[in-house]
């Protein structure tokens, strides 16, 4: 995205990230066989968050971007979390 200092990521990094994503997918499948009660959703969401974080950081190059882009993305995620959180606590206490 930034023209003045484009960053070339080595293939090795992409392969490592890809392997990490596969391992995390394996963990998701493995953990699904255990009933953790209320924690089922939280565990699945935590793993999914890590996976999407890897995709955004490496495959979408966010790791190499300016702070402004990172801040924009984090703001959007924070707002989304607030939207979902507030809606859920209504359902929780209804």
């Amino acid at each position: 995205m930034t023209d003045d200092h484009s960053h070339i990521v080595p293939y090795q990094t992409f392969v490592i990230v890809w392997c990490a994503l596969l391992v995390l997918t394996g963990i998701t499948v493995w953990v699904a066989q255990y009933n953790l009660g209320a924690w089922n959703v939280w565990v699945a969401l935590t793993i999914a968050t890590f996976k999407s974080g890897l995709v955004v950081a490496y495959f979408m190059h966010m790791k190499y971007e300016q702070w402004l882009f990172k801040l924009s993305l984090l703001s959007a995620l924070a707002i989304l979390a607030i939207f979902i959180g507030f809606t859920f606590f209504d359902v929780l206490y209804r």
Binding site: L68, S75, A76, I79, I82, F83, F86, T87, F89, D90, V91, L92, Y93, R94
Partner: protein, 542 residues
């Protein structure tokens, strides 16, 4: 403000420099001013249609029982009035029309960051508008749900809700792309010396608005897409018999639609901030507080959506939390009102039409905002929820606020864009008529609402007749004022006396270039900014 070399006479400015012949010079132009005018004329056209529908609603409510139309037609008319006024007039009104016309010039840019995307946004807007109008004549007839599309009714009605929902989806994309364009433009295309604290307050409010457009508008896209899926595929997401939750629809709808209220009103506040400073010949009081309050309204305003849902069956805890958060939004809004008054205090006030409309914004928005506290407070809201009090309230905020700011912006900036002045006396008379008609119409609504008349109803008990007739009478006065205002300003723009570069004595960049502005705004050299937007002494105005 600028030390750049600007062409001494630009003649017809950008009007004389069309990229293509005839209409194609407009609908395929990527010049921000041409796109701004495309938006302006489209928006004004839809506004006139919306006003006509509003007058029809008031005529129907002139007396109990059927007056001029049947109940089903009435439902369709008030739905269409809401959809047109919200999605086609108020939301795009100031940002898309005046934001495009003025914002790039105010920051010293030659255009927006993505001119082609800008043109695409207008095409999306017109596509969405055409789809909304098409929904009237196709499928099962005009939608009859109100602009809120609440389930379960909207999922079940045989009217053409699906196409109308799709239209909102497309219009949302137009809004998102405009927001994206404006954020990028303000970050990347400011000219030399245009620091963040030298940006005019109008542009600052557009910046805050653009962020809401980017972050909140996708939610309405998702919501109407889910409604579409509910109707076409029977997904059952909002249907309790299939494990769905109808209140979830209201959450999703208002997660966008309440921040949308601030998409509507924040740019209006920016217009008023610029106008008040220029016509008081004083720097805007508390510039930084105004900037922070704009951002605070944008942020806090995104966290109050469930105050539309107190009686829907949400949890008591949610009611309390959202009621508390709602009161917080009053703080930055009040900061703005106090700062406008402080700017006017001891100023050399020029009571020209733009300031008159801006002053009516301050008064009517304050009244609307204070009546909003009655609704934000859960205990009182239960009594007036879904009554005409709510209708009166949001017309005070939306029409008394954003509508008046739109008219103020028209009287303030259009002479700049067209290079000709309207008749100021007629403009002042039309302002008086509009103000009187407005107060009669909407105060009557508030009173009849307090008395218990429900909103959206086709019929009412005879006790409410007097106030309803008063409101209808007010709507006639208001319409008369609007006709006079539009005829006067449009006549002035095409046949009025030529104006100089700076008819109002403004100190920001748009007043330093010729009227009408040339294509790409600033001759050969970009301007260099050496002082703030309201520093009238350094600008040589005082």
């Amino acid at each position: 403000m600028s030390e750049a070399s600007i062409p001494a006479s630009a003649g017809r400015g950008f009007f004389g420099e069309a990229p293509y012949r005839g209409i194609f010079g407009w609908i395929f132009s990527t010049d921000h001013k041409r796109i701004g005018l495309l938006y302006f004329w489209s928006i004004v056209t839809f506004f006139i249609v919306g006003v006509a529908l509003g007058v029809l609603i008031r005529l129907e409510l002139f007396a109990p029982g059927e007056t001029i139309m049947g109940a089903q037609t009435y439902n369709a008319v008030f739905t269409l009035h809401g959809v047109i006024m919200i999605f086609l007039f108020i939301i795009p009104g100031i940002p898309a029309a005046f934001g495009n016309l003025i914002m790039p010039i105010q920051i010293g840019a030659r255009d927006v960051a993505f001119p082609k995307l800008n043109l695409f946004s207008w095409w999306l807007y017109m596509t969405g508008a055409c789809m909304a109008l098409l929904s009237l004549f196709t499928g099962g007839g005009p939608p009859d749900t109100g602009w809120t599309f609440y389930v379960p009714f909207s999922a079940q009605t045989s009217t053409n809700v699906s196409l109308a929902a799709l239209a909102v989806f497309v219009l949302g994309f137009s809004s998102i792309l405009t927001g994206l364009n404006f954020v990028t433009t303000i970050h990347r295309l400011r000219t030399d010396g245009m620091t963040w604290t030298r940006i005019p307050l109008f542009t600052w409010t557009l910046y805050a608005t653009a962020w809401i457009q980017i972050l909140a508008t996708p939610v309405i896209g998702i919501t109407v897409a889910l409604l579409f899926a509910e109707r076409v595929l029977g997904t059952g997401l909002f249907d309790p018999t299939q494990g769905g939750d109808p209140i979830m629809f209201q959450h999703l709808f208002w997660i966008y639609s309440h921040p949308a209220v601030y998409i509507m009103v924040l740019p209006g506040m920016g217009v008023v901030s610029d106008i008040v400073a220029v016509f008081a010949r004083k720097p805007a009081f508390g510039y930084k507080a105004m900037v922070v309050s704009s951002l605070a309204i944008a942020f806090a305003g995104s966290l109050v959506w469930a105050h539309h849902m107190y009686t829907s069956g949400i949890s008591d805890l949610a009611v309390m939390v959202f009621s508390f958060l709602t009161f917080i939004v009053a703080i930055p809004s009040a900061i703005k009102v106090f700062n406008w008054l402080a700017t006017l205090y001891q100023g050399s006030i020029l009571l020209d039409p733009p300031l008159l409309f801006a002053l009516s914004f301050i008064l009517l928005f304050t009244i609307g905002g204070l009546s909003g506290l009655v609704l934000g407070s859960a205990a009182t809201d239960v009594h007036v929820h879904d009554t005409y009090f709510v209708v009166g309230h949001f017309h005070f905020v939306m029409f008394g606020g954003t509508g008046m700011a739109f008219f103020a912006a028209m009287h303030y900036w259009l002479p700049k864009i067209y290079g000709r002045m309207y008749d100021k006396t007629v403009a002042t008379v039309s302002w008086v008529i509009i103000f009187v008609g407005f107060c009669i119409l909407y105060i009557a609504m508030k009173v009849v609402g307090i008395q218990g008349m429900p909103r959206r109803y086709y019929d009412y008990i005879p006790e409410f007749t007097g106030l309803n007739q008063l409101a209808t009478f007010g709507s006639w006065i208001l319409t008369l004022g609007l006709i006079l205002m539009f005829v006067n300003i449009f006549r002035g723009l095409f046949y009025g006396e030529p104006v100089g570069n700076n008819p109002w004595g403004g100190a920001s960049l748009e007043w330093q270039i010729p009227s009408p502005p040339p294509t790409e705004n600033f001759g050969d050299e970009d301007p260099v900014v050496t002082h703030g937007p309201y520093d009238f002494k350094k600008a040589g105005i005082l």
